[in-house]
Symmetry: C2
Subunit: 428 residues, 2 copies
């Protein structure tokens, strides 16, 4: 990496040191806390400095970081992160799901921010050690897990605009329940589902931007739109490209709040098949690991219908006998609205580490301006534009056949009840 006589130290998991806390905190009862609020006993920290490279990783008592007010991360937002989960399986063992993918994506995010990189395997070893020492914080309850948040921040203490040549790489863990609160009357996964609002005046990402990386800076611009969505009675924002276009001209779905977006459409014609569509990774969409897992599982199932290979699912994904297509392609609001009107929109769902798989119950569209925007239904008159929802076929509440199969399969793979492709790894 450099031509100096002094080599830059790589991130070395064998140097991991542990500083123990004097008194362990009490672990709260699952169900009593919100998402991300609980602080555990430990955190994992390592530092990079120009010229020296990576310090020895340390697991130490959770506590505040001391940062210079001029720090690059505070001034210019060189902050990247990952979201992963550890689960307790029926065998009592703790497992992480495809964590190698998170490590690879974190390196890619760091590179995009001009931050120093590191050996992803070395970081994963250190995180595994953190999860092991925090074992008692992993809730075993259904729908609960230990959320793991690796974070990297640029620490150069200068307001000069430019890359940070020093960084802090730390990981915190926090016990979590379901991301969306569940009514006791409607247990997951038949949860009624979330509602999304497409807001034409707010665009999350765009060609040539940073929407395809997991950067902290992709999130805060969504806070004000999220408040607007909540005020209009929706759970999250549905991000679209092509701001300001009338929906029938093709506002294109990119992703949903903190999730990737999937739609299941009954095929036109009489083949009795279905098409599962998700927007392509064109650089404007987060390359979700749950998204990738869902696509791999669905494609293996679709292949099994025409070959002698084995499906990862034990039951069919739709009630008909036709083919299943799994396609990454642009999906516009107008296509979705037309499919809904024709009764072909079977289900929509979101995928993500935080939510796993969650039903999308309805989609609204918020006009750019009261005078020019056109809502997506046919009842529109030019003087009274309003939000009109796209709803699933038959007013479906909760996960449909595809979403439910994915929810159950991914849940079983994550907690180690089932195995597929070596995706879950026991934390030893």
């Amino acid at each position: 990496m450099n031509g100096n006589a002094h080599p830059i130290a790589p991130l070395d998991a064998s140097l991991l040191k542990i500083t123990h806390v004097e008194t362990l905190k009490p672990v709260p009862t699952p169900g009593t806390y919100g998402f991300g609020d609980i602080k555990t006993d430990y955190m994992l920290v390592m530092e990079y400095t120009a010229g020296s490279g990576w310090s020895a990783p340390e697991i130490k008592p959770y506590g505040p970081l001391a940062l210079d007010p001029a720090s690059n991360c505070l001034q210019y937002c060189t902050n990247v992160f990952e979201g992963m989960k550890a689960f307790i399986g029926p065998d009592g063992k703790a497992r992480m799901f495809r964590a190698d993918q998170n490590m690879t994506r974190l390196v890619s995010s760091a590179e995009r921010m001009g931050l120093p990189t590191f050996d992803p395997d070395a970081l994963l070893k250190c995180i595994t050690a953190l999860v092991s020492i925090e074992r008692r914080w992993i809730p075993a309850e259904n729908g609960h897990s230990l959320y793991i948040r690796p974070t990297m921040i640029g620490t150069k203490a200068s307001i000069r605009v430019g890359k940070s040549d020093s960084a802090l790489l730390y990981t915190l863990v926090t016990p979590v329940g379901p991301y969306f609160p569940i009514s006791p009357a409607i247990p997951h996964p038949t949860l009624a589902g979330v509602s999304l609002l497409a807001i034409s005046e707010h665009v999350r990402s765009w060609p040539g931007g940073t929407g395809g990386y997991k950067l902290g800076l992709n999130y805060s611009p969504g806070f004000v739109p999220q408040t607007l969505a909540a005020q209009e009675g929706y759970d999250q924002v549905l991000w679209c490209l092509d701001v300001g276009k009338k929906p029938e001209e093709g506002a294109v779905i990119s992703e949903a709040g903190a999730m990737n977006f999937f739609a299941v459409l009954a095929n036109e014609g009489s083949d009795g098949g279905i098409t599962i569509v998700t927007p392509p990774l064109d650089g404007t969409i987060l390359p979700g690991i749950t998204r990738d897992s869902a696509l791999q599982l669905l494609r293996a199932h679709a292949d099994s219908l025409s070959t002698s290979s084995t499906s990862p699912f034990s039951s069919p994904l739709h009630s008909g006998s036709g083919p299943i297509s799994v396609i990454e392609r642009p999906l516009s609001l107008s296509e979705l609205a037309q499919a809904a009107q024709a009764g072909r929109l079977l289900e929509c769902f979101g995928t993500g580490t935080a939510v796993l798989v969650v039903a999308i119950e309805r989609i609204g569209y918020y006009p750019l301006s009261k005078t020019t925007a056109v809502p997506i239904d046919s009842e529109h008159t030019e003087n009274t534009p309003k939000i009109t929802d796209i709803v699933m076929k038959g007013g479906l509440k909760g996960l449909g056949q595809v979403g439910k199969a994915l929810y159950e399969k991914l849940g079983a793979l994550k907690d180690g009840s089932e195995e597929w492709n070596g995706w879950n790894v026991v934390c030893e």
Copy 2:
């Protein structure tokens, strides 16, 4: 702001308290330090917490901030800032330039990030007190000043995705010289000028995005492109919209590195006039205060040519006798290239608090892909696309007639040598 019985405390400058350092640091000699690296003795800090509101502002010894690892600012980049300068005038007094505008913009940025807001006048009073106590750090040398960096960060200690209901608002100051290093052989403002590279694969902002606010998160995505520009031999990136478009199809200039962009064109036809163009504030461009000041000064001059009003400039802005138009409108790379080829591109310059006014000497275009992009000159052949520069009329080096007049006028207004519209305010 809330309906509680307990009122939320507003930011109150009359509560300002000062905690003195024990030993003052030595002030370094101007010319020996880079931009933004020096730490002075003090910083100004105030905290907002949900339910209580603003704490008493405090000027205290400069030092690290203690931040929870889960802080909203580190995880999701709710960080906003301002850039202002204090100058020592020929009368020995310290002055700030249009600082009220910075305060207003900071409030607007905070709102966009969902951060708590504050009374801009109250913050300005506290900053004035900080500048007064740090008086000895203001360099009096030509081209030098005390850079002031108000910063606000969201401090909610939870990784839950959403607005921060607590914040830290702090201000640091640092003595600075010219932003771009000046060769001793070429004193400012006849500085040869900077070069800009338009990179088609990187887009800073877009309609529906946050480019029109001064947010920390607008800066780090530019660090990797900036490195690319430097590798190609250019000083900064020229940000354009319409990524991937061939330049002749109209890649549109938005701004230049950390500056707003101006071009001066000789009019077509024979009226002997000039047109000064800068891109409009359409939400994709930082509403620069130096940009606004330049527009106001230039428009006052243009008006003076046709009315009996007084010009703020003592000499003409071009050698001809024709009219001067000052226009905010989109400006494409192809228009600039055509004007350059026709000998009508008289000058380009950038404006900003950090640079004041700086000459733009040449503009290059970096293709999206070696196989599809088209460079902006006519020597192009399809198999050998290359970077070809737009250069000013007659290969102009340094500021032209308009840029030089602005540089001198703004410099005189900033240090208090001259007065106009009450723009500079003495720090008492």
